[in-house]
Amino acid sequence: MEKQSIEQLQNICTQLRRDVLRMVHAVQSGHPGAPLGCAEFFVALYFDQLHHNPDFKMNGSGEDLFFLSNGHLSAGWYSVLARSGYFPVEELKTFRKLNSRLQGHPATHEHLPGIRIASGSLGQGLSVALGAAQAKKLNQDDKLVYILMGDGELQEGQVWEAAMYAAHYGVDNLIATVDYNGQQIDGPTTKVMDLKNLKAKWEAFGWEVIETKNGNDLKSVIEGLELAKSLTGKGKPVMNLLYTEMGYGVDFMVGTHKWHGSPPNDEQLAKALGQLEETLGDY
């Protein structure tokens, strides 16, 4: 894929946000908040960072792999997959509908290109990504494995089993990113179950930790991912704490857990789309 300018990438982010909002609005269900906050990450990854092949092969040998552990961000992932050529953009309109390949949470069962493991039940993705990274090492495949997790998701114990494993085995061909939006379903993470000092936690588990302080600034996100990449291959797994704002890009949705899993109504959709220019053409 040709490298795109920041301006072009920014346009894709805006379109991704439109896609997400229209998708969840159409079926009056789904999760808009976190994908709005992760638009820059998705676009930076798929359009700038990943060595990947939209002619999808399940085993992914010789290419970078991405796993979405917080599967409720499916609308955002489907949009970036479609927009980067994995399947027709038109298909986004089937999201969450009967007989669709775009299940509510990502699945391999319907053979949607780009998806290698089901997710939705939180806490499992890091383990899977580590397994894939280990297999790459066994196969002398020098490409990387990326994974995105939610911050609330880190409350699951399995994540810390995986964290311990990754450092013990020096899985240094893996870049994990946490969507550090400080929100989860029942409220801010500080109120629900405080994650306290996340950086210190991951460091104590033996990870190389970087912080991307402005996760909604495309340039910062790309720089963060570049830095993360430069830290791979040095014996440690790499953690990228990505500070984002849930609901970013729509003024009345930003910064609150209220839009974690609620779709906009007609009026709210119109208002939201008014803030996001149609850059690549709606599906």
């Binding site: 089901a118 383990s127 894939a132 196969n139 399995q158």
Partner: protein, 320 residues
């Protein structure tokens, strides 16, 4: 009175050793076979593989959920992961991980579960899982296998390495008669008629296949000719073999080291109800947990030995 057994043995061994030896052999045959274990390498008999293929073996520590996810991920590089732990921690503890990352995602993971059932003995009920076959057979895509002795477990282990898809392989701890041939071919999903009979069919799985062989000889002394069928694969179930046998005998007994609820017997009952309603008596654990004791004591107390299979066969016959 000595019994005239149709199958005999000269040696006893644990089925987990059959797994361990089969696993090593599978590793020698295919470089993609890899192993994972959650701090029970010795108990699972995975040590020989680990010694011979240290780079292809992953100690995960006491972290079973992570182990299942790792195994699922490894399949993406074409690996064939064998993930081993005790049956309780290989199923109940990680049911959601198996459901989402393995079964629903259709990953070629082999879940290898030792110390299943009552016969692990003295450790008691926390470890004696009697619900695992039910949980695993309910999962779409999952193949469920419970071999009967060392040789059959070894053959099954080699067979699942060649089969593409998720498998639950269940075996156990106690030293058990080796009464099936060393050179057997293991066909997944194909029941094995071990003894021909005409009066009643005994469908048995796992350790209780041996008890069924003993029960057949006891019944024969009383002039009752039982057919013994070894159902090593609980799913997919060989319905054809089941129906063909019951068409001839007219009644049946199921025998398993598992809860009656949701086990092999229930799968057989479903088959019979749909196609040929016939009396079926269950030999299994009747809605209870286990406890500490020797394997023999426990099989007797919970009604799972040859004597109980004989009684069940007579009940089934009386209902014909």
């Amino acid at each position: 009175m000595s019994l005239d057994l149709k199958f005999t043995y000269t040696e006893k061994k644990d089925t987990r050793s059959g797994f361990g030896d089969g696993f090593l052999e599978a590793g020698r045959r295919n470089p993609n076979v890899v192993g994972l274990c959650a701090d029970l390498i010795g108990s699972l008999k995975m040590g020989d593989f680990q010694k011979e293929f240290p780079d292809r073996f992953f100690q995960t520590g006491i972290a079973e959920a992570n182990m299942i996810g790792l195994a699922a991920g490894m399949t993406l590089g074409g690996k064939i992961p064998f993930a081993g732990t005790f049956a309780n921690f290989a199923t109940g503890r990680v049911y959601d991980q198996i459901r989402q990352s393995v079964a629903y995602s259709d990953k070629n993971v082999k879940i290898c579960a030792s110390h299943a059932g009552l016969t692990l003995g003295e450790d008691g009920a926390t470890h004696q899982i009697l619900e695992d076959l039910g949980m695993m057979k309910m999962l779409p895509h999952m193949t469920v296998i419970n071999p009967c002795d060392y040789n059959q477990t070894k053959a099954a282990t080699l067979a699942i390495a060649e089969y593409e898809g998720p498998v639950y392989l269940r075996f156990g701890r106690p030293s058990w008669p080796i009464f099936t041939p060393a050179d057997q071919k293991f066909e997944i999903g194909k029941a094995w008629k071990m003894i021909d009979g005409k009066d009643v069919t005994i469908f048995a799985t796992g350790h209780l296949v041996w008890e069924a062989v003993v029960a057949e000889a006891m019944l024969r002394q009383e002039g009752i000719h039982a057919e013994v069928i070894n159902i090593h694969t609980i799913k997919p179930l060989d319905q054809e073999a089941i129906l063909e046998s019951v068409k001839k005998t007219g009644c049946a007994v199921s025998a398993e080291e598992h809860q009656i609820n949701g086990g092999l017997g229930d799968s057989i009952a479903q088959t019979l109800i749909r196609h040929n309603p016939a009396p079926l008596e269950y030999v299994g654990v009747n809605d209870s947990f286990g406890e500490s004791g020797t394997p023999t004591q426990l099989l007797e107390k919970y009604g799972l030995n040859a004597e109980n299979i004989v009684k069940a066969a007579k009940r089934a016959l009386a209902r014909k």
